[in-house]
């Protein structure tokens, strides 16, 4: 398979680009942000996502979805990133759906129709500390009756305040650090004993601190097999990380494009500042970094779609490389804008804030760099 988008994917890209720009562009982001409502996104827009078919992108055709892959999900995510579109697409339609795809039919029947219709929102309850450490999950799920009782706390549950259900990773046996003994659950947010404290993040998204105080779920809530949650989690993480990388790529290229445009227009010393070699070289270096980042994302998506063994390594390469390239893009962006780069009126700062949040989502560049070393056995 060549490492560029095929014709169908390009068509999807055109429609996603057009849709995000007109319906979910930066103006929409600002308008929504300034309303300061409790949701981090507009439910009306999420409905429109469904009308476009995006919500069922990773759902099998027999189950009412589009039956497409990570490459296609990534096409949509990149446009979300480029336009800073607020939506629960990544947690619901990508990571959430992939987790459910790894489990039984009953749960898919329960959640997929709502997701496809743009009515159901899923969030991921994985992290327990300020840094992403999925191998250290300690939250307990103890057997009770025919089900489980969940006790513990999760944080950085992005869009958690608006979620109808959470994908929760908890320990059913063993202790933090063990590979086996995790179990994944789909927990409805109206469950008794579940409370949420919603907080606004630097990028204006809303995330929840979730407390589970003896939340009882029955055995049907288990995704996949008890104690084998690592299998489900891996699938969720691969999808979520690759998806986050695609969204970050959109943020990075978006920021670069804005910046290059800006330095073509701004005049100082009687000339456009884009004619200064000091800026040209930095812009060209940034272009090179973003191009390489793009190749890693598409490669990771293709390997995941092929079910290749090497996919996981490439996922970490992509999350890390795109993270570093985009972080460079937003920092160079603000600097090359000069004073206006610091103002709320200009968009470049919004990209910087979005990037910061995406960096932390499912592991930052350092985290994935360490994983690459581990996967290589050193």
């Amino acid at each position: 398979m060549p490492l560029y988008l095929n014709d169908d994917q390009k068509m999807l890209q055109d429609s996603a680009a057009d849709f995000m720009k007109t319906e979910g562009g930066v103006a929409h982001f600002r308008e929504f942000r300034d309303k300061n409502c409790k949701d981090g996104f507009s439910h009306a827009l999420w409905k429109q996502f469904a009308e476009m078919g995006f919500t069922g992108i990773l759902v099998d055709e027999e189950e009412g979805g589009l039956g497409l892959g990570h490459a296609e999900a990534g096409v949509v995510l990149e446009e979300i990133g480029r336009n800073l579109t607020p939506s629960p697409f990544l947690t619901t339609a990508v990571a959430g759906v992939e987790a459910l795809n790894a489990g039984g039919k009953a749960l898919r029947d329960k959640y997929f129709p709502g997701i496809i219709a743009g009515e159901t929102v899923l969030s991921l309850a994985i992290d327990e500390g300020a840094k992403h450490r999925p191998d250290q999950i300690a939250m307990a799920a103890t057997r009770e009756g025919n089900g489980f009782k969940l006790d513990g706390k999760k944080q950085f549950v992005v869009q958690g305040g608006s979620a109808d259900a959470l994908i929760v990773a908890a320990r059913t046996s063993g202790s933090a650090g063990d590979e086996k003994g995790l179990t994944l659950f789909a927990v409805d947010t109206d469950a008794k004993g579940l409370s949420r404290d919603n907080v606004r993040l630097v990028d204006s998204a809303v995330a929840a601190h979730v407390e589970f105080d003896g939340v009882v779920v029955d055995a049907d809530a288990v995704i996949g097999e008890v104690d084998d949650g690592d299998v489900v989690l891996k699938r969720l993480l691969n999808a979520g990380r690759t998806g986050a990388a695609a969204e970050t790529l959109g943020v990075g290229t978006g920021a670069m494009d804005i910046t290059v445009d800006y330095i073509k227009g701004r005049k100082q010393f009687d000339t456009t500042i884009g004619s200064f070699q000091a800026l040209q070289h930095r812009a060209a270096h940034l272009y090179s970094e973003m191009e390489i980042a793009r190749a890693t994302v598409l490669k990771a998506q293709q390997l995941l779609d092929e079910g290749a063994k090497s996919a996981e390594l490439m996922v970490s390469v992509a999350k890390s490389k795109v993270g570093r390239a985009t972080s460079l893009s937003v920092k160079e962006g603000v600097q090359m804008h000069g004073g206006v780069g610091m103002t709320d009126e200009y968009d470049i700062g919004l990209y910087m804030k979005r990037d910061r949040a995406l960096q932390e989502f499912l592991g930052d560049a350092n985290y994935h760099t360490n994983l690459v070393a581990e996967m290589h056995g050193y």
Partner: protein, 397 residues
């Protein structure tokens, strides 16, 4: 089985059966490359491997068959490369003819020029060198002064080239000459001639790595025929239009040099952890070096994906014409970083310049050699200039 899967199976079987065992050992240094030519120096297995691959057209798998190539599609070429890498088969032939002149002839040459020159390149019979740079014309290559004066049925060439890689070993030269002094870019002619011609002399220059792979090249009233036979002109494209050819060729040269960035083999950390030392968790025991190694592993894997994407989009006509400049910049900068880390992992041991233990200072010499990567074929700064002007469309001062 799809056609491509069949092709993969057959290719693997053929390589297994035909690649000499010596040619499946890792290359140790530049002298392990096979360059062919009129005065070759072959190590065991090299000639056999070159000849049998040439017979199949696989020294240049994606060139058309009528010019000595294999006529393979992009997908088949990729499979051949993947299988050669998997079976650790060395490249059968290193050649400026393949990397630089060939693509330029395929694009600009007449049918007769292609039929005459390309099969000789594919079979490794003629070794070419590149006469571009001059003492006063490096980054500003188009300011070159070496003159070719029209004398009816021949030109008389006078002047000096510098940094001509392997000029002392090459059979022929593709040379940029000035045929019109009143025009800068539009007064350059791309000329092909024999290095054995009277009036050509070469003088090796010693590099910081200790080797002397390149030369000063002098032309003193060298007589270059206008034609080497029916339709086989010594000028590629047209007189005074050599700059078009030169630039096109540089695109291929830059793509080729960028390959340094993706050819580095496996993970550096995996390779050096035992040598450097491991902690009780099995991790490389210098945490800062470990982090840098992991960073470069990521850069290499990322650049390898980039190289694949570049190759695919280039073949499909989808990539920006100036993209080879970005590839050259990124690939060479990564390769330099990689060799810095190899030196760091080697510690004081690899400082030994002549000892047997270091194979004559091989690691250090290779490290020094990589510093040229971001100079040869156009410097990193020039690459960034081109990217910012041609791709990002940033204005001139």
């Amino acid at each position: 089985m799809s056609d491509l899967e069949t092709f993969r199976k057959e290719t693997a079987a053929w390589l297994e059966a035909n690649c000499p065992p010596e040619m499946r050992q890792p290359m140790v240094d530049e002298s392990d490359a096979c360059w062919g030519g009129r005065n070759p120096t072959y190590k065991p297995g090299q000639k056999e491997w070159m000849d049998i691959m040439a017979e199949k057209g696989w020294t240049v798998p994606d060139w058309p068959k009528e010019y000595g190539g294999g006529g393979l599609s992009r997908a088949e070429t990729k499979i051949l490369q993947q299988e050669m890498a998997r079976l650790k088969c060395r490249s059968p032939l290193s050649s400026f003819g393949i990397w630089m002149l060939g693509p330029a002839l395929l694009h600009f040459g007449t049918e007769e020029q292609k039929k005459h020159f390309l099969p000789q390149i594919a079979r490794g019979e003629i070794r070419w060198c590149q006469g571009y740079s001059e003492p006063g014309s490096g980054s500003d290559l188009a300011s070159l002064q070496t003159s070719a004066v029209d004398q009816g049925d021949h030109y008389i060439v006078n002047g000096q080239k510098i940094w001509t890689s392997y000029a002392d070993k090459a059979d022929w030269i593709f040379c940029l000459t000035r045929t019109d002094k009143s025009e800068k870019h539009k007064g350059i002619t791309f000329l092909l001639f024999d290095m054995a011609s009277e009036g050509v002399t070469t003088k090796p220059i010693k590099l910081i790595s200790g080797a002397s792979p390149f030369c000063e090249t002098f032309f003193d009233d060298v007589k270059v025929p206008k034609s080497y036979g029916e339709g086989v002109s010594s000028v590629v494209f047209e007189e005074n239009r050599g700059w078009d050819v030169a630039k096109y060729l540089l695109g291929h040269e830059r793509s080729m040099i960028s390959g340094e960035g993706s050819s580095g083999g496996g993970s550096l950390g995996a390779k050096f952890a035992d040598q450097v030392g491991r902690d009780d968790m099995g991790r490389l025991d210098d945490p800062m070096l470990r982090a840098q190694m992991a960073d470069i592993d990521i850069e290499l894997l990322a650049f390898r994906a980039m190289a694949e994407r570049f190759g695919d989009t280039f073949k499909a006509g989808l990539c920006h014409p100036a993209q080879p400049n970005m590839m050259k910049y990124a690939g060479t900068e990564i390769n330099k970083r990689r060799h810095e880390l190899i030196m760091s992992a080697g510690g004081s041991q690899v400082l030994e310049w002549e000892s047997e233990a270091t194979n004559g200072g091989l690691t250090a010499r290779s490290w020094l050699r990589t510093k040229a990567n971001s100079i040869e074929g156009g410097t990193s700064e020039v690459m960034l200039n081109v990217v910012s002007k041609q791709i990002l469309q940033l204005p001139n001062t």
